[in-house]
């Protein structure tokens, strides 16, 4: 009975178009939100791996290298370099700072490493940063060549990078290690972590090892509740989509009670009627999913923080759409099953 299904969709095109657009907006919101969650992971991965090492050593008992500031004397680096399994070790400084750009104040992590070493800006072929030079993420709203201040120090942006931020869009600012030590620690020769290559087989009790994965997770743990809320919100949006489609299918089935009665009177089974309703609901849901995927790049331009929609979410959406459509069609099932074919004989 596909003919009947499509003919009804054609006749109620406006009704179904509104439902499709509404559902598409809900689906696209779900994708955007899933993209936020993915964005958190992507920016953290880039920021951590952008340091260039395989892990970090920090003071035991403190947090991860990107989330807490626990100063270590520079002698620790030499100690780490001697650890078995470590092929390279460089001091790095990471601390949160507010800086003022021509377009306003921005918070973000300042990341600094030795010239040409780990912790340097993630820009291939870039000469080591000199005093007063900085590499900034796009989200810092600083253009190349512009100056901005961190504390009382002025810096000039020499390059911009994209996608290097943490905690939901806090832009990274890369400066030289000497500038960072002068800016935050009165020029003392200290670091907040030692970035390493290789994998130490043993670590002194005064230090704690964070692999890149652990360092990422440490950052994401700060967003734990936000990520969980986002995941719940995505499921709720799927439910909203089901309710929108369900409402349209339900109203459509109420309007078609007499048609259902006639169809039953001339030999249609309840199963055939329900299949038609389910096909309508799934059709709306799949169209909405397609529109949502099409709308995504447009909507993403209005979202100030980086989005990374996981590919599996895009593959998942049509499946979700089918499930949502089938769930929604249950709203009309009762009409299809319970309608009395005797209604077809009623006049008027």
């Amino acid at each position: 009975m596909w003919v009947l299904t499509f003919a009804d969709v054609r006749m109620r095109a406006r009704q179904f178009a509104i439902a499709t657009i509404g559902t598409a907006l809900v689906f696209s919101m779900a994708l955007v939100i899933a993209g936020l969650s993915g964005g958190f992971r992507a920016e953290t991965r880039r920021s951590v791996e952008g340091v260039g090492g395989d892990g970090f050593l920090v003071t035991a008992g403190s947090g991860g290298p990107f989330t807490s500031v626990s100063l270590m004397p520079s002698t620790v680096v030499d100690q780490v370099r001697r650890l078995p399994g470590v092929t390279r070790a460089d001091p790095i400084l990471v601390f949160q700072q507010r800086f003022s750009s021509p377009r306003g104040f921005v918070y973000g992590p300042v990341i600094a490493g030795p010239p040409g070493g780990l912790g340097a800006p993630p820009v291939r072929g870039l000469a080591p940063l000199r005093h007063g030079e900085a590499v900034v993420d796009d989200l810092a709203k600083v253009k190349v060549g512009e100056t901005f201040t961190i504390g009382n120090e002025r810096f000039r942006a020499v390059r911009r990078v994209h996608g290097y931020s943490i905690l939901g869009g806090l832009p990274n600012v890369y400066i030289s290690l000497a500038d960072a030590q002068a800016l935050a620690f009165s020029g003392r020769d200290v670091e907040t972590a030692v970035a390493i290559r290789g994998r130490p087989t043993s670590v002194p009790r005064t230090l704690a090892l964070y692999t890149n994965q652990q360092a990422r997770q440490d950052v994401l743990d700060r967003l734990g509740n936000a990520v969980k809320s986002i995941d719940i919100f995505v499921r709720l949006l799927w439910l909203v989509a089901a309710v929108i489609i369900g409402a349209v299918v339900y109203l459509s089935s109420l309007e078609r009670l007499r048609d259902f009665a006639v169809l039953k009177a001339i030999g249609s089974s309840s199963r055939q009627l329900y299949a038609g309703l389910a096909a309508q609901a799934v059709l709306i849901a799949l169209l909405a999913a397609a529109v949502a995927i099409g709308l995504l790049p447009l909507i993403a331009t209005f979202i100030p923080i980086p989005l990374a929609v996981p590919v599996f979410e895009l593959y998942l959406l049509p499946i979700v759409a089918i499930v949502v459509g089938l769930l929604a069609s249950l709203s009309g099932l009762r009409q299809a099953v319970r309608v009395d074919p005797a209604l077809a004989f009623a006049s008027g």
Binding site: M1, V3, L4, M11, R12, V262, A265, I266, F345, S347
Partner: protein, 329 residues
């Protein structure tokens, strides 16, 4: 034309009761009839006489309270749900009073609905649907939706749909109810033409213009007013029931002495008191005058003496009483 085990329609002692509101209605009471192969049979009767109920029973949509039905040798009330769906598609074709076409489908698609329900696909569906529309002289309206067709054209599409799987029985419920006289002629002529060997056409109507074309006419509400018997006096003992709700009768009663109760039997078997009737008053006139079953039961509360009249004599006495009251007052 005859009814055989595999053709035509037989109805034996069919009674149909259903609950309407709080009380039980019995639109069909011990009805028996036959419609042979190739016959055009007209079920004639006013609204409420059970025509549509009978068609619904024959279509397998309602299950009778008692009695048996045979349509081409099959009793629809004995079929499983799947067999019943098949029966409604292939054994009986139904033409509804209100056309009941699917508004979103074209004439061709409407005619094709039973074909698709039966699993037919592809070009064969279109070919058969076009044949059907040609059969009802609507080949040039195949692409039109119901909203762009006249009532007569819609009814002919409905007939085409009913004929889709070439069922041996065609049931038409008030097929001329919503049509003007020009359209009525076309539909009646078509139904007459369709009653041919291999197909029985049963038409319910209150339109007696169909009578001359019918092979057989079955009146579902006998003309009770034909009861012209003389006035009779009868005596009831306390508790005697004069007539029961749902029964048919042609007499109107005057209470000469005693007290009668008019009551309605509810669906759950309890009795709802309506009114007491005492001299000089009458009751029971509406059923015979309108040709409808009694809508309530009459029972003697005390020993009562009644005079029963035919409708004609009742009118005569009621008129005389009215005149007497007028001259007296």
């Amino acid at each position: 034309m005859t009814v055989t085990e595999r053709s035509g329609i037989t109805v034996r002692d069919l009674t149909m009761e259903y609950v309407s509101g709080d009380y039980v209605v019995r639109p069909l009471d011990n009805l028996s009839l036959e419609a042979g192969d190739g016959e055009l049979v007209v079920l004639l009767g006013p609204s409420g006489s059970g025509k549509t109920t009978l068609l619904s029973v024959l279509a397998g949509i309602l299950t009778p309270t008692s009695g048996t039905v045979g349509v081409c040798g099959r009793n629809p009330s004995k079929l499983s749900p799947d067999e019943l769906n098949d029966y409604r598609r292939a054994t009986v074709g139904i033409v509804f009073q209100g056309f009941n076409l699917i508004a979103s489908l074209s004439a061709r698609e409407n005619a094709a609905v039973p074909l698709r329900l039966s699993g037919m696909r592809g070009a064969a569906v279109r070919r058969r649907a076009d044949e059907l529309l040609a059969q009802v002289n609507l080949a040039d309206r195949a692409g039109h939706r119901p909203g762009r067709m006249s009532g007569g054209q819609q009814q002919r599409v409905a007939i085409a749909r009913a004929l889709a799987l070439n069922p041996p029985v065609l049931l038409a419920d008030e097929p001329t109810a919503h049509l003007d006289h020009v359209q009525v002629e076309g539909v009646i002529t078509l139904l007459r033409r369709l009653a041919e060997p291999g197909r029985t056409v049963l038409v319910s109507t209150h339109d007696d213009r169909m009578i001359p074309l019918a092979d057989r006419v079955i009146e579902l509400a006998p003309r009770i007013s034909e009861d012209t018997g003389p006035a009779e006096e009868l005596t009831l003992a306390k508790g005697d029931v004069l007539f029961e709700q749902g029964s048919r009768g042609g007499r109107v009663y005057y209470v000469e002495a005693g007290r009668m109760e008019i009551l309605r039997v509810q669906a759950d078997g309890t009795e709802e008191h309506l009114i007491y009737v005492e001299p000089p008053a009458y009751f029971g006139e509406m059923g015979p005058m309108l040709g409808l079953p009694r809508s309530a039961t009459a029972r003697a509360v005390t020993k009562s003496v009644l005079t029963s009249y035919s409708v004609r004599d009742f009118r005569h006495r009621a008129g005389a009483d009215e005149r007497a009251r007028g001259s007296g007052g």
